[in-house]
């Protein structure tokens, strides 16, 4: 009875969940630390919502990227596709016939086309995902500069209304220095983030497709032997990543209201970093979509903290690198400690060698 009790709770907590828990705990601790050190700014709800308001595109991209990474691939074209979408929408909206519905269709269309192209090449022609998405990155950047080079500020009245639209929560807010009460404002992008998060997380958690993605990412050979259509699953993950990149592009232009060559440049690395901090492994098969926004927020809180501490702007990148180092080492230490304790406590000694080799194999795949 005691042995069963020891084994069960340990075995039930999967790698995805423990990594997600680590990320969540770190985020909460960090936010508490931020509140303690800078109570004036971090106590306000607006600061918390601004993290979402200003960085909704990054969170959306991270969601799509996490799906691809759980499926065992990688997509580094998301940032450039997002930039391309912003520019295409801006050009279209400034055109005489432009309408917001059309812009949304363009955004989704560009995302899906990139997703289908890359997904087909990677899943059905079995080309290395890094190379294909790298050329997708080049393609999107090239199309972006071909489309338009100078920044465009969208002046269409309907769109400007949409850009300035805020959802005001009257009962949450803070008084500013003059003593005037300012209610909290939430951008529509935040709502989109929440909706997408709920849809995608439940899709990955409970649908057949989501479980197929975990199986394929964990071990594509055994997934194939179990009768899962590996190629189609991989294909769909890339299409979804492209689609989220398209949505992210539209949210981006809805937040900033301008098309620019530098829009969302370098966002792919930020998205990869946040997915990893959120507990998704690059090897595939391990991850939790709820970790994606948490990873992004952790990264952003680091930046906010550095900014609030008044570190010289040159050193900001260095400090965030150090923080990243701290996280990565912590994650790895917790994982290795967990492996060690499980092997020590749960297995009878005569089984230890074979099981150890098995668990080692599992980690490598």
């Amino acid at each position: 009875m005691t042995t069963v009790n020891v084994i069960k709770p340990k075995a039930r907590l999967s790698n995805s969940n423990i990594l997600f828990l680590i990320a969540a705990v770190i985020f909460v601790l960090m936010y508490i630390f931020a509140i303690i050190t800078f109570p004036a700014s971090f106590m306000q709800f607006q600061t918390f919502f601004d993290l979402f308001n200003l960085n909704a595109p990054l969170i959306i991209m991270t969601l799509g990227l996490s799906i691809v990474m759980i499926g065992g691939g990688i997509d580094i074209s998301v940032g450039s596709v997002c930039g391309l979408v912003t520019m295409a929408c801006a050009v279209y909206l400034e055109h005489k016939m432009g309408s917001i519905g059309g812009a949304i269709l363009i955004a989704l269309g560009i995302g899906i086309v990139f997703g289908i192209l890359q997904g087909y090449l990677i899943a059905y022609l079995e080309i290395q995902p890094f190379i294909i998405t790298l050329s997708g990155l080049f393609l999107a950047q090239g199309l972006l500069t071909t489309l338009h080079k100078d920044p465009i500020n969208v002046t269409m009245p309907a769109f400007v209304n949409l850009r300035d639209f805020d959802i005001v929560i009257a009962w949450l807010g803070a008084k500013n220095r003059l003593g005037v009460f300012i209610p909290c404002e939430i951008k529509p992008g935040t709502i989109i983030v929440v909706i997408l998060l709920v849809i995608l997380a439940s899709l990955m958690k409970w649908s057949r497709f989501g479980r197929n993605v975990y199986a394929v990412g964990g071990n594509s050979n055994s997934a194939m032997m179990l009768g899962i259509n590996v190629k189609r699953t991989v294909f769909i993950t890339y299409v979804m990543s492209g689609l989220t990149a398209g949505i992210a592009g539209f949210v981006y232009i809805m937040t900033t209201g301008a098309g620019n060559v530098g829009n969302a440049s370098g966002a792919e690395m930020k998205a990869i970093a946040s997915a990893i901090i959120g507990g998704t492994l690059l090897n595939g098969g391990v991850g939790n979509l709820l970790g994606a926004p948490i990873g992004t927020l952790t990264l952003l809180v680091i930046n906010e903290l550095i900014r609030a501490a008044g570190v010289q702007s040159n050193f900001q990148a260095m400090v965030s690198g150090l923080m990243l180092y701290f996280f990565i080492v912590l994650q790895s230490l917790i994982m290795s400690l967990r492996d060690r304790t499980r092997i020590r406590f749960t297995l009878p000694p005569w089984l230890r060698l074979s099981e150890k080799a098995k668990s080692g194999n599992h980690r490598e795949t």
Partner: protein, 363 residues
């Protein structure tokens, strides 16, 4: 002959791409191979490619090793090279009189810095078991900021005679110095691989770390070693790049070169998920990328469109080289052969049906 083909079959992709590019260039203008002599040194399209690709070649050698052993890529190479070259520049600038000895000492110092950076990444990957791309994300994020801190001001200028010579030509030597340095480095690496078991060990670790450990090879040590070699590669590449540019621009020096280096490894016919590798392929791949860039410039494509063409070229290339298309081509080739053999047999003697059956079985 068949043995030769077997040994060089992995080079099929890079060499065919290079041939294709040369044909495109020759169609554009027949003077592609013309080499002119300016101030006692060779200039022209081909020397320029060798000149321009020198850092990329060195970095892709290191990247091949890292990819083969650790099954992942180091994305901080550009940043590492920036830091090492910042140290090089710092040492050269603080010296009163710049002699060859100063340059050599500064270079060795930057090599030590490169080793330290490689050890940093290598420790994370081998001891803490972090994925290489994640581990190098740290330096990727903070590297340029560290280089900026070492520099002190935005872009210190290397205005001395010896650096100038290293960056361009030494009088009396007809070949540009970066090319010579690259060749020396390649020879050095070749000697290293001829005289040691490194290749075997790296491949073993890349194919299966557990099996390697059971056979008495410590995968941690080998992965750490590849990252150290990568560190030396970044130091050499940074040395060449900063001498070429003549000033140390910590923001733009070798920016985004890791993409090109990984691409070179892939074009060279190596798997990005570790295992067997071919450094020759990577070197040819690196030169191919530089040739592609210069070809697009030579075709006078609108600068805004260059990236589109590059992307399309890479996609077509990878589609042609993809395993599915290769299998399809081989099958159709076999079918044609089988059809021809049956046709010739039905026309000629019908006494050898055995070969026909074995052909069918192979198919």
């Amino acid at each position: 002959m068949s043995k030769l083909i077997k040994n060089f079959s992995h080079l099929f992709l890079p060499i065919s791409v290079m041939t294709l590019l040369i044909i495109i260039n020759l169609i554009k203008g027949a003077d592609y191979f013309r080499i002119t002599m300016v101030n006692g040194a060779f200039y022209g399209n081909i020397p320029n490619i060798f000149f321009g690709a020198s850092e990329l070649v060195i970095l892709s050698i290191g990247m091949t090793l890292v990819t083969a052993a650790s099954r992942g890529q180091d994305i901080s190479i550009g940043e590492s090279a920036t830091i090492t070259s910042a140290i090089f520049v710092l040492f050269v600038l603080q010296a009163n009189e710049v002699t060859v000895l100063t340059i050599v000492a500064a270079f060795l110092l930057s090599c030590v810095a490169g080793l330290a950076l490689g050890a940093f990444n290598g420790t994370l990957v081998s001891v803490f078991k972090v994925q290489p791309m994640v581990a190098s994300l740290i330096l990727f994020t903070g590297g340029r900021s560290i280089a900026f801190m070492i520099d002190g001001k935005l872009s210190p200028i290397l205005a001395n005679d010896i650096s100038n010579k290293i960056g361009t030509v030494i009088p009396g030597v007809p070949i540009q110095t970066p090319i010579i340095l690259t060749v020396v480095f390649i020879v050095f690496v070749a000697v290293l691989f001829r005289t040691t078991n490194l290749r075997l060990y790296v491949e073993t670790v890349g194919i299966n770390p557990n099996a390697a450990r059971l056979n008495g090879i410590n995968p941690k040590k080998i992965i750490f070693l590849t990252f150290l070699i990568m560190g030396v590669c970044t130091a050499v590449a940074g040395f060449i790049a900063v001498n070429k540019a003549g000033r140390h621009d910590s923001v733009n020096l070798l920016k985004l070169i890791m993409m090109d280096a990984i691409l070179a490894v892939a074009i060279g016919g190596n798997s990005l998920s570790g295992g067997k590798f071919s450094i020759t392929g990577s070197i040819i791949g690196a030169y191919t990328i530089e040739m592609l860039n210069r070809t697009l410039l030579r075709l006078e494509i609108d600068p805004a469109m260059i990236k589109v063409f590059k992307a399309i070229f890479i996609i077509i290339l990878m589609v042609v080289a993809s395993p599915v298309v290769r299998l399809f081509l081989r099958k159709s080739l076999d079918r044609v052969r089988a059809w021809r053999s049956t046709a010739s047999q039905s026309v000629g003697n019908l006494k050898t049906p055995n070969t026909n059956i074995t052909d069918m079985k192979e198919e």
